[in-house]
Amino acid sequence: MAIQKTYEEINEKIRRGEAVVLTAEEVSQMALTCTPEEIAEKVDVVTTATFGAMCSSGAIVNFGHANPPIRMEKIRLNGVPAYEGLAAVDTYIGATACDPENPKYGGAHVIQDLVDGKDIELEAWGKGTDCYPRKHIKTVINKETVNEMILFNPRNAYQNYPVAVNSTSQMKYTYMGSLLPNMRNATYSTSGELSPLLNDPEMKTIGIGTRIFLGGTQGFVVWPGTQFNTSKPKNEFGIPVGNSATLAVMGNLKEMSSEFLQAAYYEKYGVSLFVGIGIPIPVLNADIAKNVSIRNEQIETTVCDYGVEGSPALGRVNYAELRSGEIEVQGKKIRTAPVSSLSKARKIAEILKQSILAGEFEISKPVQMFPTNTSLKSLKEVKGGTE
């Protein structure tokens, strides 16, 4: 009879210390000699992970009220602008925020400094109201002084991503790294067969409410990420061959560690945040076992020319080729380099595996599954606005 396990059955095994947990790389190896049915029978959970720069990240912070109180209508954290439109003392500090005078230190650095327990200078201004009379405050905050600090990333963990090259005669500095002229290098960003959404391409187990590893602690998938797109072309293995689905994730920043949350500055681009995410996939049946068995050579993505407006597609390659150090695009051999950390992703997958084995991390059934028919809109320009 075909295997069908429930989340509760797997959690029972986790509690008893009997669950069999493998990383996505380990199960891909196992699949070379085992059928999906055998894998579904033997394996309970597969851990996936990624550690890449994710610009759509940020943190919600509540500072607490000063005496006399202030309604903060302009906020700076170590000089970096934070959002002022959230009540009196709540803010959202976006990872890519920065003071143009000091572009190399941005929101991501503030977030990392907060995580590291460092003191941050908070300066805020208000117009002064009857209930919030104060007009200015300059003080110091840190992890211990604030009420809450919550990581809330609207778009992380892209399911696949294009390979970047640059066909122009000028160096291009991008979030995909420094792209040398005349297609002399190519950069790629996902962790391939270890990447979360590539192991569950139809998101049969990942949805709203999925408990995950986030930045060194337990967090949650709270929504489909922004630009969530399920209508990208797929290859014969069901893998979308470009950027498609994404996740919105949330977790307690106070419990996170800068080992898994790292601020970054890209030359002539700006600030971003490397985020460590690990997602356990319960092997409920042979179908899911087949999905988590995906190997690098089966995961393809599109090569795009970042030097040209609209980043036109130039070809398609797979992750085994990308990892070999060289790909061929339009008859030209191009050296490849990763821009996300596979060694960190492996570490996260292993930590997650160990904490499931130790019974410290249980899998969760999504409260609601993601939409299955979304596509992307681009921004239309209307002359003169609404005039």
């Binding site: 720069a53 790294g177 420094s178 500055y265 030359e267 990763p338 821009v339 960190k344």
Partner: protein
Amino acid sequence: MQKKRYVLKFPPQSGDQPFSYHLVKDFDIRINILRAEVWPGKTGSLVLELEGTTTNLKNGIAYLQENQVSCEPLNKKITWDNARCISCGNCTAVCFAGALQMDPEKWELQFDPEKCIVCELCVPACPLNLFKIDFRE
């Protein structure tokens, strides 16, 4: 025998002269070109590793200087703060000398200073700013 690295700067009129030929033939110096930026009719620069006896190296360099080619020892090196490295790989994208490479098993960054030609491209390429140019000898 000695092996040393030099930065050569050429004036515009010298771009076509076969200096390397003379260094090899007349001074018995072995040349390893680490980096070349020479365009005929324009100024150019070369980073070379020269190997020869002390006397031959001295004479070879004197010969270059007589021909208006400046020849300074390469006294810069790149330092890497490996404790903070996250092995993202961004720097390997620009290192054509092969000094920065990902270990194909562990996917951790490997830096081989011997191969570094101090092109400095990795300095802006690292999103954590972990490379510094060290000017000491």
